[in-house]
Symmetry: C2
Subunit: 242 residues, 2 copies
Amino acid sequence: MTQSEKKHIKQLQQKKYRNLYGSFVVEGLKSIRDFLAAGYIPEKIYSTVPFEQMKNQDLPVEIISEKNLRQISFLKNPKDALAIIKIPKSLSLPQSGWIIALDNLQDPGNLGTIIRTADWFGIKNIVCSLDTVDCYNPKVVQATMGSLANVSVFYTDLSNFLSKSRLPIFGACMQGKNIYQSLFPHQGILVVGNEGNGISNHIKGLITNKITIPKHQKSTADSLNAAIATTIFVSKIMREIN
Amino acid sequence: MTQSEKKHIKQLQQKKYRNLYGSFVVEGLKSIRDFLAAGYIPEKIYSTVPFEQMKNQDLPVEIISEKNLRQISFLKNPKDALAIIKIPKSLSLPQSGWIIALDNLQDPGNLGTIIRTADWFGIKNIVCSLDTVDCYNPKVVQATMGSLANVSVFYTDLSNFLSKSRLPIFGACMQGKNIYQSLFPHQGILVVGNEGNGISNHIKGLITNKITIPKHQKSTADSLNAAIATTIFVSKIMREIN
């Protein structure tokens, strides 16, 4: 592989270059195969191990040394392969089913974990405010463990999206109905807020169903991690409606 | 503050020095106050803001500059204060109530999140295998957001602990009873495994109640994050028994 290819890959750590080139990086054969199976288009696959071609596909694979992989990998412990994958064209915003709406979520690990959890429970759509961390950020892609391939992530003016939606809008609030005493409909939107500040004020006003995750009486915790709170909701909702 | 104090604090990033000196670092006034309120003994508190003394306590506070705090902080964005806190003496292993048992958990963020979630739901005890990440690791302490002060974390031969316990032992397994169709007793042990390899074989044999978190039929996810799986269990258990 050439120096210019190495440079190109390093650039894709940054959002501005991902937007410029319309591509992002996926590491590890298992994850790469998840993206290919979901119909994502690879620009290039660099692998240290033989890469079995998939049916009816002529994949742009280059076998590289482990030394080269160490040079291009974003990981402390590089895996077996790295691929440059095309960012898919945006679909139109979802209007039905259960949707997770993220309001200024900042931590890549949290977004990745939420995508992975959504995939597990069969939630297909996540709508993010424009200031939420980019889902093609390498740390996000890594934390999804391939699940980003199976969940559609949208970026839009969240306030506008929620205002126009006809779905009931649920959000975790300090003073709301106990989640364990709540029944959830077959479709709706779950709003999750920023790690430090929770749901922003202009979004709070759009929530139609305020819900609380009750805390144990002896707990001194102020809040739950954003991905954990999301999981408590999603686990309750999906179990109820399936 | 002196150079030797700065050096001492840096050393406490490493487990060997934490064990040698019997102390660890907590950052941020809110978390420091959580530890003091829970009875932890501070060796020294370095604060950039006035630190209100607590009742009947003569706290070893030194006001320092923000520049000094930046030099000693383990965080990219230092908070308002940093304290050296004594590691408490080990209590005897818990024998009742709900206990989370961690088998070779490696990610500091996961351990921190599990401790924070345990605190929220009122679980007081976490028993870890000897190869689980140290709970006084700065990244763990940070991720607990002060909740480490309210949860007792033990390190022991997990296999031995589980063998001797009379409590029912629950574990997440691929082939187990559906969690949503399971009823949980008022006390028990929940075993959570390593991020990559799950529960180790010698521990698996000790599980008396194998439980599965069912996956959506269309999901291609292989597994859930360890802290997420723990949350799904704890949320279900605590809601049921409270």
